[in-house]
């Protein structure tokens, strides 16, 4: 028994030492770290009042700070990265950078609301935190610290070896790649309709979580806590719906459950006429990722929706923005004619009206 016990201890010691000090994934997680670092640095440097968009990859792919910020005359940073980044991590990094009068728009992917505590503990950012940001990790809950310490699977270890070898061999220029994929405000770029993967998009099928799952989700708890904390600092928090395929059903009850997460914690909520749902032809390579012309088109609608909630006037979009948005297949009506429905925390809660 002693032999088994010693083997187990040796195994655990090697595991922790390897993933805390030696093994790294410089290409995949390295890109996420670089992206996070740059977005946070730019966000910290923006003068208040500023607009920050926080979500998973739906943020940078389907929303353009360049468009929304210009139309609302607010400096803007697109802070979303990927769904695998834990919400607690994302909020813990951004909250200190938000000040009175700042605006945070949260078009969170619906699956982020019903994430379980177990899934949150094992989010991919746990590996980054354990390897590179242990100071931040210690500020999190014990369960999250333990989860981060045990975040790496055996395939992750193998991938780390491959990525470290590739990096040593000079493969993967992260900064150049990030510059190719994102602009200076954190928006995803280069996602043209011509290079969109139509066959892949046609095969995607997602069932959104139920209203009950949204209400009971651990993600909902984390988002609610963030809304309350940010609102207490005088930050204006506005929830929104993520972009998705028009044929993926999102019921009024689901929308109501999402809206409640914001309104119950002092935030506001923006619901666009089509519930941010678009034809598959508008997307790039995933349900959450609009191609760039449609990213512009959607962003113009979001800017028009946010304006009344913020009591701001809308500046007309630039001609280049309009002309690119006009190539989005969805574009059958001038954006000005697309209706927008808004609700505010101060208004009385009521059942959602079918939009559009």
């Amino acid at each position: 028994m002693r032999r088994l016990f010693l083997c187990a201890i040796a195994s655990l010691a090697l595991y922790f030492a390897a993933f805390a000090l030696v093994l790294d994934r410089p290409l995949s997680l390295g890109l996420l770290r670089l992206e996070m670092r740059e977005k946070l640095a730019r966000g910290a440097a923006l003068p208040s009042p500023k607009l920050v968009i926080l979500a998973g990859s739906n943020g940078p792919y389907s929303h353009s700070c360049r468009v929304i910020g210009a139309m609302l005359a607010l400096p803007c940073e697109n802070g979303g990265i990927a769904v695998g980044i834990g919400l607690d991590d994302l909020f813990l990094r951004w909250l200190p950078l938000l000040h009175r009068g700042d605006v945070v728009y949260l078009p969170m992917e619906v699956q982020q609301y019903d994430v379980s505590p177990a899934a949150n503990r094992m989010d991919v950012d746990g590996a980054m935190l354990f390897r590179h940001d242990r100071a931040l990790l210690w500020r999190m809950k014990p369960g999250r610290i333990l989860g981060a310490a045990f975040d790496n699977t055996m395939p992750d270890g193998l991938e780390a070896l491959a990525e470290m070898a590739a990096r040593t061999g000079g493969i993967g220029h992260l900064r150049a790649r990030l510059a190719r994929e994102e602009d200076a405000q954190g928006d995803e770029i280069g996602t043209s309709l011509a290079t969109a993967d139509r066959a892949f998009l046609a095969g995607l099928h997602r069932v959104e979580p139920s209203a009950r799952a949204i209400r009971d989700g651990y993600g909902t708890v984390l988002i609610g806590r963030f809304v309350a904390a940010a609102t207490a600092r005088g930050v204006i928090v506005i929830g929104g719906l993520p972009t998705d395929f028009r044929d993926v059903r999102l019921s009024a009850a689901d929308t109501g459950a999402i809206r409640a997460v914001y309104r119950l914690h002092g935030g506001r909520f923006l619901e666009l006429a089509g519930r941010s749902r678009y034809p598959r032809a508008d997307f790039y390579n995933s349900e959450d990722h609009l191609a760039q012309p449609c990213q512009y088109f959607h962003s113009m609608l979001v800017a028009r929706g946010l304006a009344p909630l913020l009591h701001r006037r809308v500046v007309a979009p630039a001609a280049a923005t309009l002309s690119l948005a006009a190539t989005c297949p969805q574009e059958t009506l001038p954006p000005a004619q697309h209706s927008v429905r808004t609700s505010r925390a101060s208004r009385r809660a009521g059942p959602a009206r079918p939009a559009g």
């Binding site: 090697l14 193998l158 892949f200």
Partner: protein, 485 residues
Amino acid sequence: MLFNSPLFVFGFLPVFLATFALAGRIAGARAALGVLLLASLVFYGWWKPLLLPLLAGSILGNYLLADAMRRSRRTRRWLIFGLGANLLLLFWFKYAGLLAASGAALLGLPAPALGILLPLGISFFTFQQVMYLVDTARGEVPACGFLDYACFVAFFAHLIAGPIVRPGEIIPQFARHRGRVRQEDLVAGIEIFLLGLGKKLVLADSLARFADPAFAAASAGHSLSLVEAWVALLAYGAQIYFDFAGYSDMAIGLARMIGIGFPLNFRSPYQARDISDFWRRWNITLSLFLRDYLYIPLGGNRRGEVRRNLNLMITMLLGGLWHGAAWSFMLWGGLHGLYLVIHHQWRRFGVRLPLLAAQGLTLLAVLLAWVPFRADSLAACRIVLRGLVGAGGVLLPRQLIAAIPALGAVARPVAVLPWLGAARTMSVVQGAALIALAWGIMLLARDIHTLGVRGRNAALIAGFAFTAQALIFAPFALPFIYFQF
């Protein structure tokens, strides 16, 4: 309840071991076996308590049948009745749906919904009892008490997915059990269990993430590219080995913890030099069952070449069908039957291939047979086979080709391979590394049962932390592949 769930490892198992040891110390061996039987019924009933009477009835009925057989002069009649009853039960629960659907399809009617729930492990506990009846009729098993018999059938370590143990090997072990848990048995059992758990959680479940998406895509009618198809097939070939061998090791380890010896079920099967050798190494207990209770009673090789080939085909077709009520399993069994027939004909010529070529050919044949075994339908099977020969194109992620431009000469760049792992660029790298490791272990390493202490220490040190990681922190436990059979 799954062996690879925290509930089993941290709850059921320690409670069972403590209660078994306590009962044995205080009230003797019979009480300890009573605890074993009770624990096994709880284990089985955890999934669907409603099916417990079926298991209990099957055990009691077969015990009484064997008893009647021993007392009667008409042993053969009792045996035929017993076999008929057991196979009818198996047929009803497992194959009535397939037969009804196939019949309806022939008549151009929609498949009727019979609403039959397949009881967990019915194939295994039925075969165990068929063995007992046959061996009793042959006079190869001495009479035993009901408790020993019930423990032999219902012992949770092998109830759901084997190994299929011989009554003559196991029942005497229960009969002479002293109800004690010896420390050396417990340590050896825990070690084998942990190594099996590692095979399942660390290797099989990781490999599943590279096998499942492509086979699911094929089921949905999507075309597969060459890399996606081969990654899926190689991942599945390794997954099913580590899944089933891991399960078997866990079963052997669990039995060993209380001093019961189960037979080996795998012996590095992918290192086989020919297809006959493969079947002497893969699911050994099922192979022996099929040989001793089907192939040899059919005549085996005693009635000429043609009859032997026919017997081989019948045995393997039924062996395929035993795995599941689907024509694709029959196809898998039929392919293996064909391989065995070809192998026997080849041996007649006396030509021997070099060892590596023979191993490679055997491996390729076994891998190709996994396609119908894993695919949900014959249409999906066709899509995977088309992918394997490159008819779905040769595609690779754009970023990978940018990093290694030479790949551009053979592959067309795409954003990602949608049906490979998590559809990231790095999924290709991760999948390739994982498959290389898994196949390296299967082709080059010795089986854990033949390793010395140093080798087992190394395996434990390499795998324990990853096993703990997967057991405690993975959001869900994947069931064993063989649980569905």
